[in-house]
């Protein structure tokens, strides 16, 4: 009798556990994965915390969360030239993008040393101050105009090519400023700026 009773007790506990799980599970499902969990899928290219190790992949750690969301939405709507990001971005809702944005925003950006030309970097610093600093404030540190300081130089190069080739839409006023920089420094303008940003390590 006692055994039976104990068996019954276990049975009841199991049942209770199942009921509890049934109750909790839908809630867990509807909550979906956290921003952090979703961001793990980005790690392959952008590094585990957004500080990418591949030179053509932009570092996204510590970036402005609204800039992140803008970029992802532009990929999702096929408004920005992409290799693969347009496909990836389509999987996320606005709310999920916001959560991911805040996950990356709260990471520290770790910079990796990259070789640069100090002469070009110095010229780039002057050009930046004249034409870029107002939007990309504090030498291009993370902000509402993206992250340029310490960014991977190859990525910066590709991005500028996309802008200049018309593959990516210029943000308001940027074309005028870039044109003015090119008018001043000629072909060296873009490499100079890229070297300047790359020099900030």
């Amino acid at each position: 009798m006692e055994n039976m009773k104990s068996h019954k007790t276990i049975h009841r506990s199991l049942r209770n556990l199942l009921v509890a799980m049934l109750a909790v599970l839908p809630a867990a499902v509807s909550a979906g994965p956290s921003g952090q969990a979703m961001s793990f899928t980005c790690a392959g290219c952008h590094g585990t915390d957004g500080s990418s190790v591949g030179p053509s992949m932009p570092a996204i750690a510590g970036m402005d969360p609204e800039v992140f969301v803008d970029a992802m939405k532009a990929y999702r709507e096929d408004e920005r030239n992409a290799s693969i990001m347009n496909r990836i971005a389509k999987a996320y809702s606005d709310e999920q993008l916001k959560e991911m944005g805040w996950f990356f925003a709260s990471q520290r950006l770790r910079l990796f040393p990259q070789p640069y030309d100090p002469v070009l970097a110095e010229q780039g610093a002057r050009l930046h101050d004249e034409y870029c600093e107002k939007c990309h404030e504090k030498g291009g540190r993370p902000g509402d105009a993206g992250t340029l300081a310490g960014q991977w130089m190859p990525y910066l190069h590709y991005s500028m090519e996309d802008f200049l080739d018309g593959k990516r839409k210029w943000p308001r006023k940027m074309k005028r400023k870039v044109d003015a920089a090119i008018e001043e420094a000629g072909d060296k303008a873009i490499p100079a700026l890229v070297n300047y940003y790359g020099s900030q390590q």
Binding site: D64, E66, K173
Partner: protein, 659 residues
């Protein structure tokens, strides 16, 4: 040791020392906290973006690049003076507190300047209105101004573009440079006022700039001279075609031109204005609004060569005589208006002497009758034996004439004193009740015609009566109203009686005070009638009389009317109704009869004369019916109440008359 090496050594040592000091500091600054965001433009608690003012001023505070181009290529001024903002009342505000639509920097799309001032000022005042200190006290005024603005023409939708108001806060206030009371910004703001209003009101600015006000402000930089808002008000701006604006502007002229306004309000023009009507001339009608200039300027509307044309704007038939009218004539200014001054002094001496004499007469009489009553003397009605026999004093025609005369006089007093006491609320209410100033004018003039007609009809009847009895009529006889020596003796004896030094005199058919009441309107009709006719028909009057007669007529008409209004409703009422022997009233003028006992008491000599001659019987009648008595009491009560009300209004007007 080579010198160079030694140098290197010293430098190295110094560098090491320096390093020892700097490295910990450098390490401390280089190693930013691992926690927290790298981006510093977000509120860590709410996750909302914060745009600091410095971020805005990166572009908008750059003195080197004060203009930018819009997306369509047109240039746009983007510079703001950060020093101005910091020194202004809004110095501690964030740019985005007002520019609420700015959410990203750099702006992702062309930013629209959408700024609403009202909500913030209202909410802040609501939060702080009970604060013990007065840091936010000024917001009360701001909120009053907001209320005024919301009712103004500026807050109305623009007729060309209904999505916009005609003007909004920052169209006039430099949004970034709102100064505190008494600050330099405010003095500058005054001088800029015409220019700011002129951005929309170009024609007005052009006119204003040629005026005396405009020259003082715009050429001489005199911030005390009138700017637009001094006349038009700052926030309660009404469309210039409206009565509200016209009244407001005329009122506001007086803020600086106090003396001119005081004298204007004494004139008919000003009285009409003060009652709240725009029908008569206002400051800008004569002086020109934006073009106001001194009378020496040949282009001025009040220059001698332009003045008649100016009068003709309203008085179409005005002739040269109009030019001698004193629009700002001041009866207290002996130096400039000696004639007007003399008339005022004469009229005031007349008023004070007549009223002074009769009020003393009233008070002494009251004293005597009260004393007599206390001592059980005097005329007391015997209630156990009411009079059945009455004496007929007034035939029907005189009763009607008195009734109509009383009604017309009261109507004239009511409508006339609204002008004289246009400063009172009751005057404004009465005019509004009557249907406006023009209707009041019609009523006053109609009553005046009736009044004068009654006067002349009475004269005709009186003359024909005398004519019919011309063979037997005794000019100084007992039934004649012509004053005689006995009246003077009666007056002297009455004063003796008042003071207890003699018996009450015995009177004939008419007492001296009744004769005074009878003859006073002869003087009144002459003065009020003549001056009234002058004012009634200024265009016709000016054919024969100079313009300053309007000033004299206006003065004496008012003063004489005042005398009549106070005399009739106080002295006449006391003599006839309120003295203890008669209180509360005598209805004789409506029933035409008085009890025989009263006749015996008040007109003893006449009673005795009629008894002797055996004529008394002819004048005796039965007591009036109850219905006639009630009707007469009713009419008398209504008229007495109306008269006392008028007296109250007049005395209130006199007491509150602005000095």
């Amino acid at each position: 040791m080579p010198r160079r090496i030694a140098n290197i050594g010293i430098v190295s040592l110094l560098a090491a020392l320096l390093g020892a000091i700097i490295v910990p500091v450098a390490a401390a600054t280089a190693t930013e906290p691992d926690e927290g965001l790298m981006i510093d433009h977000f509120d860590p608690e709410t996750g909302k973006r914060i745009i600091p003012n410095e971020r805005c001023l990166t572009c908008h505070g750059d003195k080197q690049h004060q203009t930018d181009v819009r997306d369509d290529g047109t240039p746009v001024e983007i510079f703001v003076h950060s020093e101005e903002i910091e020194a202004s009342v809004h110095g501690s505000q964030k740019c985005t507190s007002c520019h609420v639509t700015i959410d990203r920097v750099p702006h992702r799309k062309a930013p629209a300047v959408i700024v609403g001032c009202i909500e913030c000022h209202r909410e802040t005042w609501e939060q702080h209105k009970d604060d013990p200190d007065d840091e936010y006290a000024r917001l009360e005024v701001v909120n009053e101004q907001i209320d005024s603005y919301m009712k103004s023409v500026h807050a109305q939708p623009n007729t060309l573009d209904q999505s916009r108001t005609n003007a909004t806060c920052y169209d006039c206030h430099e949004g970034h440079n709102v100064g505190e009371l008494g600050s330099i910004q405010r003095a500058e703001h005054r001088l800029k006022n015409p220019e700011i209003c002129g951005r929309c009101h170009e024609k007005e600015l052009q006119d204003y700039s040629t005026s005396d006000h405009g020259k003082a402000v715009m050429e001489e930089g005199d911030s005390e001279a009138a700017v637009c808002s001094d006349c038009h008000t700052t926030h309660e701006i009404a469309s210039p075609e409206t009565d509200k604006a016209k009244l407001q502007i005329t009122q506001n002229c007086g803020d600086c031109h106090e003396e001119a306004q005081r004298t204007y309000f004494k004139s008919y023009h000003g009285q009409v204005h003060r009652l709240g009507y725009t029908d008569a001339a206002k400051c800008h009608d004569c002086h020109g609004g934006h073009l106001v200039k001194s009378e020496d300027d040949p282009t001025s509307e009040i220059h001698a060569s332009n003045r008649l044309e100016n009068c003709r704007n309203c008085h179409e038939d005005a002739n040269e005589n109009f030019l001698s009218f004193w629009p700002h004539g001041d009866a207290h200014d002996r130096e400039h208006y000696p004639g007007l001054w003399a008339f005022r002094v004469f009229m005031e001496i007349l008023i004070f002497s007549v009223m002074g004499f009769f009020w003393i007469h009233v008070l002494l009489w009251l004293y005597r009758e009260v004393m007599d009553r206390v001592q059980g003397k005097g005329f007391v009605e015997d209630l156990s034996q009411p009079d059945l026999v009455y004496f007929r004093r007034f035939p029907l025609v005189w009763r009607w004439i008195h009734f109509l005369f009383a009604i017309a006089t009261m109507t004239l007093i009511l409508t006339g004193t609204t002008l004289l006491f246009s400063h009172t609320a009751w005057a404004k209410a009465v005019v509004e009740f009557l249907g406006g100033i023009r209707m009041e004018g019609i009523i006053h003039r109609t009553a005046a015609i009736i009044w004068l007609s009654i006067f002349f009809i009475h004269l005709a009847i009186a003359i024909s009566n005398i004519w019919r009895k011309r063979k037997t009529f005794e000019w100084f006889g007992s039934t004649s109203l012509v004053p005689n020596m006995k009246d003077l003796r009666d007056l002297r004896d009455m004063f003796k009686w008042f003071l207890g030094r003699g018996p009450r005199p015995e009177f004939g058919h008419w007492t001296y005070w009744q004769k005074f009441d009878y003859w006073a309107p002869f003087w009144g009709a002459t003065v009020i009638g003549a001056s009234g006719l002058i004012l009634f028909m200024p265009d016709k009057t000016s054919l024969i009389l100079p313009g300053w007669t309007f000033n004299i007529a206006n003065l004496v008409h008012a003063e004489e009317a005042l005398l009549a209004a106070i005399f009739l409703n106080s002295v006449h009422f006391f003599n006839v109704h309120f003295r203890p022997e008669r209180f509360p009233m005598s209805t004789a003028i409506f029933t035409g009869v008085i009890p025989i006992d009263e006749f015996k008491h008040d007109h003893r000599l006449e009673y005795e004369r009629l008894m002797e001659s055996g004529e008394l019987e002819k004048h005796l009648v039965q007591r009036p019916s109850r219905r006639v008595s009630l009707a007469a009491s009713f009419i008398t009560t209504v008229l007495i109440m109306a008269g006392l009300t008028l007296l109250t209004l007049v005395l209130f007007g006199l007491i509150t008359l602005p000095s």
